[in-house]
């Protein structure tokens, strides 16, 4: 559970986090219906790490990302940032947290106020936190624009004058204006053209390096994740099914869902002979309001056995630090730890 440069305390610690939404308003409160968007997940993010939260619709990855920033209050469990419980922060402590933890949004067209000039958009967080004089802010804005690869005169123009990729750069500049040490990037390239995605991914990697950022990267595109993340957490219907280093998860996926996700991505290689039939997942993603009992994935899992239908799998921790929630997973099958001189791996 460690990357190259770690401190002892993880920067973000999520323990048994549950976020629930009340959807009973639709029924005049007659029947209490609770939507468990996130149902008891635990993980850590070490300083300097880039953790990808991966999943499909209803997985809870976006909700988790927002909960880390304190935008949702946990129904149970906790989110701790640098040791402090985020939901209990208030006043100056909360403001301090907000300076340190920022978000980059998905939609570069919706996340910038079309009536504000770019300079004002980037300066907004500076003003909100009492950054300094107007000229100091202007200087900072110019610096941020340079950092994200935009010309300084961009500050005087409006968002509509910029392309999607450029707008995303503006969004990034805004997020980094206060020099946060932690950023949640919510699908930052999903809305961009393919030829532009690579530019933004490179920019994010470069900024992460330059500014020593810790990042949680929410994505559904596994190819993007492989390029960007140092660790990967896979979510399904509000639960964490697998978490491990990038190489482990991609090369030796331990959970059937992870395997299915990886097989489901058609590779840009005609010779690979990929076919949609390979995925062999039955049916649709169940509604997160009414998840299946036992292992939530059992209704679609090609390897499900009887116990999967009734018993929720416990999270196992492999010696390598990888965690998997599956009745069928075991370290011998999936982990390859080069320093381990234990029993040879069974095929």
């Amino acid at each position: 559970m460690s990357s190259d440069r770690t401190d002892q305390t993880p920067l973000v610690q999520v323990d048994d986090l549950a976020i629930r939404f009340d959807v009973s308003a639709r029924n005049w409160g007659l029947r209490s219906r609770v939507f468990r968007a996130v149902d008891g997940i635990s993980f850590e993010v070490a300083k300097g790490e880039s953790l990808a939260l991966v999943g499909e619709s209803g997985s809870g990855k976006t909700t988790t990302g927002r909960a880390i920033l304190g935008l949702y209050r946990p129904a149970s469990g906790s989110v701790r940032f640098d040791g402090e419980e985020v939901s209990k922060l208030s006043g100056p402590a909360l403001r301090h947290f907000r300076r340190r933890a920022q978000m980059i949004f998905q939609d570069p067209y919706a996340s910038l106020n079309p009536r504000m000039k770019v300079g004002a958009i980037i300066a907004e967080p500076l003003r909100a936190h009492g950054f300094g004089s107007a000229s100091a802010r202007r200087e900072r804005v110019t610096e941020m624009l340079r950092l994200v690869g935009l010309p300084p005169d961009a500050a005087n123009r409006f968002p509509y004058a910029f392309s999607g990729g450029q707008r995303q750069r503006i969004g990034i500049a805004r997020a980094l204006a206060l020099s946060p040490d932690f950023v949640v990037a919510d699908e930052p390239v999903s809305a961009l053209d393919v030829s532009v995605q690579a530019q933004i991914l490179n920019l994010l990697a470069q900024l992460r390096e330059e500014l020593s950022l810790t990042m949680v990267f929410i994505a559904h595109n596994l190819a993007v994740v492989r390029h960007v993340a140092s660790r990967v957490a896979v979510m399904y219907l509000g639960e964490l099914v697998e978490i491990g280093t990038r190489d482990d998860v991609f090369a030796r996926p331990a959970h059937p869902y992870t395997r299915a996700l990886l097989r489901a991505v058609p590779p840009p290689d005609p010779a690979a002979g990929w076919s949609g039939a390979e995925v062999s997942l039955r049916g649709d993603i169940p509604s997160p309001i009414d998840p299946p009992p036992g292992c939530r994935f059992h209704t679609r899992c090609p390897e499900a056995i009887d116990i999967c239908k009734t018993v929720v799998p416990q999270v196992q921790t492999f010696p390598s630090g990888r965690k998997v929630a599956c009745h069928l997973a075991s370290p011998e099958k999936y982990d390859a730890d080069p320093t381990d001189t234990g029993p040879p791996r069974r095929p």
Binding site: R26, N27, W28, L30
Partner: protein, 306 residues
């Protein structure tokens, strides 16, 4: 669906309650002192006090409201200051005439407004569209009493197509219905036009053409049902607006409905009649809205779930 109706019904009841609170509040705050009227202008102070107690005016306000509510629920809307008759009976006697007029006005609105709106949308930016837009602007702008008098002058006096001053026959209904409904028709035409234009731009309309459906089928089977929603809601709200317009139109045409009665009551300071009319009219509006909501839910299955 039953849950939806029950919910709407619940709200309707609450709204009627709120109305009673408002009418009570108005009555309570009115400068006309019923005790003074009851006791007579020459009453002594003692007689005045007796009158107050008899009318229950010495109770605290909440109790007065409660008594008021109880009376309402028994159908007692008070008695007219002018004629001494029970208000409920007075209002109900005039109600049918107004309902007749309102129904006719609604018919005018729908029969003229809807098709014109659809036509304008389908022939967007063409001559038909421009005519409808300009015509509807006039309809919205001209005040109802002006419209009423103009219609009377032109079609009952100058060209005696319709009877003047009569209120009992079908031809007599035409001009007042037009006066009441034409402004609404203008509104409808614009609104339906806008709604249809919106729907025409939707993907599923394009998709139904992609299936090879004729333009007629596309419009009648897909566009219409998706466009009428706002119009149905408007009809519900309109009823309330009507009852305001009814006041004016009934005066102009001498139509013996609750509007005319309310007007006379207002000028005579006959507060119970005025408030009684308000309650009856408001309740009618609430019921009408309820019906409109239900019709909307029947037309658009998504509404039930929201």
């Amino acid at each position: 669906m039953t849950r939806y109706i029950a919910g709407r019904l619940g709200w309707a009841v609450l709204v009627v309650f709120a109305i009673t609170i408002i009418t009570f509040g108005v009555a309570f705050l009115s400068p006309v002192d019923p005790a003074r009227l009851y006791a007579g202008l020459r009453a002594t102070h003692a007689e005045y006090e007796i009158a107050r107690r008899q009318l229950g005016l010495d109770h605290p306000i909440v109790v007065q409201y409660w008594l008021y509510l109880k009376r309402l629920l028994h159908g007692n809307l008070g008695t007219s200051y002018s004629t001494g008759e029970p208000v409920l009976r007075l209002v109900l006697s005039r109600l049918p005439a107004t309902l007749e007029l309102a129904a006719a006005g609604l018919l005018v609105e729908v029969v003229i407004g809807l098709p014109l709106g659809v036509l304008a949308a389908l022939k967007w930016q063409g001559p038909a569209d421009r005519i409808v837009l300009t015509g509807s602007l006039l309809g919205v702008v001209v005040p109802q009493f002006v419209l009423g008098f103009v219609l009377l002058y032109l079609f009952a006096y100058k060209i005696p197509l319709f009877p003047l001053g009569a209120t009992d026959s079908l031809p007599a209904l035409v001009l007042p219905a037009l006066a009441l409904g034409l402004p609404g028709a203008a509104w409808y035409a614009r609104m339906v036009r806008s709604s249809v234009l919106n729907v025409l731009g939707e993907d599923f309309v394009r998709n139904s053409r992609a299936k090879g459906l004729s333009e007629w089928s596309v419009v009648t089977r897909h566009v219409m049902r998706n466009s009428v929603g706002p119009a149905v809601t408007m009809i519900g709200l309109d009823f309330g607006i009507f009852l305001g317009g009814v006041l004016v139109v009934e005066q102009v045409f001498g139509w013996p409905g609750i509007g005319q009665q309310a007007w006379n009551a207002i000028t005579a300071n006959d507060i119970p009649v005025v408030l009684g009319t308000v309650i009856v009219a408001a309740t009618a509006v609430v019921i009408f809205n309820l019906v409109a909501d239900i019709v909307n839910a029947l037309l658009d299955p998504r509404i039930k779930y929201s």
